[in-house]
């Protein structure tokens, strides 16, 4: 089984980091993983995206035309990638910045007010962790305890940020269940 998750948004929204935490969590659970970023000048302020491939076999092509899932943090990202998502996948869209749904009936679309939820948890900057956690809770790609461990590890060099991000994680999980 192979799953692919596209994380997309503006540069600065923590897109690459969300993908990295998921890839790390999947690796911890024994999966083969690959994290492929978009790179180049468009990273500064423009669209940033990365693709995380998770598989129980060695990963062949790291280039995926039709990923299984999408986490879209802004409207251009949803517009750009929503059509490509495989039927049956999860599309998490950031309702704080995206007014309309993707309009696909063959996917599981989850709209989460990541900005507001993160602000309530302590800082709007943790919107990416809200989105990631809601996505993981809905897709079940990795266990929530592994996710928690990897968030802690990611912020281990700035431990003052751990409580905020764990709060954002809990709020994201709750948001996925509410939907």
């Amino acid at each position: 089984m192979q799953s692919e998750v596209m994380f997309a948004g503006f540069g600065g929204q923590g897109i690459l980091l969300s993908g990295k935490i998921l890839a790390h969590a999947a690796m911890e659970e024994g999966y083969e993983v690959a994290w492929i970023p978009s790179y180049g000048p468009e990273m500064r302020g423009g669209t940033a995206y990365c693709l995380v491939v998770i598989s129980d076999k060695p990963i062949g092509s790291p280039i995926i035309k039709n990923p299984k899932h999408l986490v879209a943090m802004n409207r251009p990202s949803l517009d750009k990638f929503a059509y490509a998502i495989k039927p049956g996948g999860v599309i998490l869209s950031n309702a704080s910045l995206i007014p309309n749904p993707a309009g696909r009936s063959d996917v599981d679309e989850l709209r989460v007010q990541t900005g507001e939820i993160a602000a309530q948890a302590g800082s709007a900057k943790a919107a990416n962790i809200v989105a990631l956690s809601a996505f993981v809770a809905r897709s079940g790609l990795v266990q929530l305890k592994t996710l928690k461990h990897c968030i802690e590890e990611e912020f281990s060099k700035r431990p003052q940020l751990i409580p905020l991000n764990l709060k954002a994680m809990e709020a994201g999980i709750a948001a996925a269940q509410k939907e």
């Binding site: 492929i36 970023p37 790179y39 062949g60 092509s61 280039i63």
Partner: protein
């Protein structure tokens, strides 16, 4: 050591340190600048040398100077930067000095682009610099493999007293994958006292060493070139590496592909297998020396009707494939080099089209 998730570029940097190479000179260029960023702090932890040179031209000669002084040294760059270093590489070959160059290829010619490419194949394997010089060229297809290749590159460079190049594409540098690092290598060039300008006082005897590539006497220049040729011939005998994938059974098409491109081909091969179409793959891990016999024999398998060379260039490695197949089967090239990596779907299509008119 357990697995860590690491970007290819950072893994290259760490692998060099684990290989006992504590000397690095470089100039920033996308898509490999993370190597320099990583080593700018990591080298100070291990008491190593890190220097950002003023240009790739200068860096090439900083590598020369350090290699000539008998230490392990390496640099990393990307296509346009490698062009600037190619002069120094010719001098390194001529003076028979060991060093490791990593080229994380981007599109060309000229400034080209910054996305993945394999368009420096000719440059790396046939025409790296002026004169009869060659590099031992290795092509990784994963972050783990680039780590292993970097670690073997140093002893190989020293075995042959010749530069070695790791030829990866932008994806190999930018992608994160789990890696495990082999144990530290501790040794340095063991034969250096015979040739390095490392100071007479630091060796046995009082004879000085001369590091040079100038031989005005035609016989001596010819002798030096014969010596180089003998090394390149020895590489052909001893260093060929390749992976054969799905070549045990009867396949109707053989694909030859390397680096990131070969992974895409593997996915296509698995999908085609499920549809009942068998395709074999030869993935050269060394591009020079080239796995000539492996390609020739795989192409001549009786079930094989055609050979496809798939690469992210406008048709470079295909010339080597044609050379190996020697007309025994039709050889076809497919590729892209703008930065879009051909997808498994395109390759599946290509294989089916190749088989349909026959």
């Amino acid at each position: 050591m357990s697995k860590v998730l690491m970007k290819g570029n950072e893994a290259i940097a760490e692998a060099a340190i684990r290989a006992g190479c504590l000397n690095y000179f470089a100039y920033p260029i996308t898509p490999q600048s993370e190597v320099a960023e990583y080593l700018s702090w990591r080298m100070s932890e291990v008491d190593g040398v890190f220097l950002q040179g003023e240009s790739e031209v200068a860096v090439g000669y900083m590598i020369f100077g350090a290699a000539g002084a008998g230490v392990r040294v390496f640099t990393t760059s990307s296509s346009p930067g490698i062009s600037l270093m190619s002069e120094a590489i010719s001098y390194l070959c001529g003076a028979q000095l060991p060093a490791v160059f990593v080229n994380i290829m981007r599109g060309g010619p000229g400034l080209g682009g910054i996305l993945p490419s394999q368009a420096d194949y000719f440059q790396a394997t046939k025409g790296i610099g002026h004169g009869d010089c060659r590099l031992l060229v290795m092509a990784p297809a994963s972050v783990q493999e680039v780590v292993e290749m970097v670690m073997t590159a140093f002893p190989l460079a020293e075995k042959y007293r010749n530069p070695v190049m790791i030829l990866g594409d932008g994806l190999i540098g930018q992608m994160m994958e789990p890696v495990e690092f082999p144990d530290h290598l501790k040794s340095e060039p063991t034969n250096k006292d015979a040739w390095a300008s490392n100071g007479i006082d630091f060796r046995k005897g009082s004879k000085r060493n001369l590091v040079r590539s100038l031989f005005l006497d035609p016989e001596k220049l010819n002798d030096n070139n014969l010596e180089l040729r003998a090394k390149y011939e020895r590489m052909k005998r001893e260093e060929v590496r390749f992976e054969a994938y799905n070549t045990q059974g009867e396949y109707s098409v053989l694909i030859v592909s390397y680096g990131t491109m070969s992974r895409v081909c593997k996915t296509a091969i698995e999908t085609l297998k499920a549809e009942g179409i068998e395709v074999g793959l030869i993935r050269p891990q060394t591009l020079f020396p080239y796995p000539e016999i492996a390609v020739r024999e795989a192409a001549r398998k009786s079930s094989c009707r055609a050979v496809l060379c798939i690469e992210m260039s406008m048709g470079q490695m295909v010339e080597d494939v044609e050379r190996c197949v020697q007309g025994a089967r039709p050889v076809q090239w497919y590729g892209k080099c703008g930065g879009d990596v051909p997808t498994p779907e395109e390759i599946i299509d290509l294989v089916k089209r190749t088989l349909s008119p026959m």
